[in-house]
Symmetry: C2
Subunit: 239 residues, 2 copies
DNA sequence: CCTGCGAATATGTGATCACATGGCGGCATG
DNA sequence: CATGCCGCCATGTGATCACATATTCGCAGG
């Protein structure tokens, strides 16, 4: 894996006001979310530091945060890797997404404006373009942006971080699933969600969000976890 | 605030197999959860290191993790503090707890055994003892242990960390609320939950859990946020 | 040829240091 | 006496080093 594989070079100039560890964190988080890092792959502090051209310190701090966000996992040999997936865990993650995102969407409804709907429609168009172009990085990123835009309408300070943690845990496998599926047609119910938003129909919105999560991801993932993800790494625990 | 105020001295011997940063993390997390640290209070790396008798490095890493878990908040002056509370945020936190914990409880039901129920009953007794003794630290800790014991029955790898994050955010204010309320009678619906468990009645369990969260905490917190928590710190943002 | 032991290497952890920034108080000035 | 400026002190950030441990690779013995 090369440096450009691991982290997008698009961000982080010399005059970036963020601290180095924040830049490293953002880049690693995106790499995980977009599935650029192989599940089970161990990440080393010195290795990442060399790739990113920084010292070990910012990398250490970024890895700690990502472990806390459950995007990475600390093994008992004290090394850090992308967590492996089990069917049970995947099922839990989807279930958590459903209840959390359905509720977040419902709570956003009172704050939905026509302007927000317009922005969501534009974002949906971006998603469709990415799908047409078979650009999975863009698709995943735009898809998350769509959801975050909706849930963030209410300025919900509690829901979004939890949802982002779930995405971070699913990301590596979602990407892999899309790359594996032959037809890799992606399903989304965003038009249904948008219709519900226009009618200010909270119940329909909940249903659309739940359907979007379940139909778009659940069946895809469960098909490939078994044959692709498990037992790929020699030792290691799941704790 | 003295060292013994901030961290319980009960854990962390010389032969603790955990790394120093993990010990520091556990102690700080407990301090936040039990409300030992004042909301808005800024924590300094060097200060904590001195109190805990360690160098700055483990403290830095622990603070980073707690920020990622939302138990602490990174201000744009780069200092770290206990987040302030707003009514909106409290409302969000309770709502997230309700949907997440009700679902987690329902998903645990298939794994409920008589032995688990017996352990939960014992834990409920511990809670009642703590309440009778007016020991709020013990009450909060035992209460969380009760919920975690139930949700953990299914080995749910996704729900528990999210729920723990919510507790960490509520903890400082819950403790403060209990100390403030004159009668400080604590409500819990654990007996209802236990009855539902014995009947293996998932719907009743959901209702009991939701009632436990809402009745036990929601009304308590909302009464004192306004007059006690806000504007206690000079500057500072909420980001 | 396989297996087990041991040395060399890689890695995480913790400590310490240098530096830039922010906060705070004293002091001068109007 | 009030106000604004300036310098000192506290603090976070990043780098580097020493050390303990884990891993790995090679070699010897069966």
């Amino acid at each position: 894996m090369t440096a450009t594989d691991l982290v997008a070079e698009t961000q982080g100039g010399a005059d970036d006001p963020r601290t180095l560890h924040q830049q490293v964190l953002a880049r690693l988080r995106q790499s995980i979310l977009l599935g650029r890092i192989e599940p089970g792959q161990a990440l080393t502090i010195r290795g990442l530091a060399a790739e990113l051209g920084v010292s070990a310190m910012p990398v250490r701090e970024a890895l700690r945060e990502l472990v806390a966000e459950r995007g990475l996992e600390l093994m008992d040999n004290r090394r850090v890797r992308i967590p492996l997936m089990t069917i049970e865990r995947f099922d839990d993650l989807i279930a958590a997404r459903v209840v959390l995102e359905a509720e977040a969407a419902a709570r956003a409804m009172p704050y939905v404006t026509d302007a927000l709907i317009a922005r969501l429609e534009a974002q949906d168009a971006v998603i469709n373009e990415a799908e047409a172009a078979r650009d999975y990085d863009a698709w995943i990123g735009a898809n998350f942006a769509f959801h975050a835009m909706l849930y963030g309408a209410a300025g919900q300070s509690a829901f979004l971080p939890l949802i982002e943690s779930l995405w971070l845990q699913i990301g590596p496998f979602l990407r892999r699933a899309m790359r594996t599926l032959s037809g890799h047609y992606t399903v989304d119910r965003h038009s249904e969600a948008l219709a519900a938003l226009r009618r200010r129909d909270t119940m329909a919105l909940r249903i659309a969000i739940e359907a979007d999560i379940r139909d778009g991801i659940a069946h895809i993932g469960s098909t490939l976890i078994r044959r692709d993800m498990l037992g790929k790494v020699p030792g290691g625990n799941m704790a």
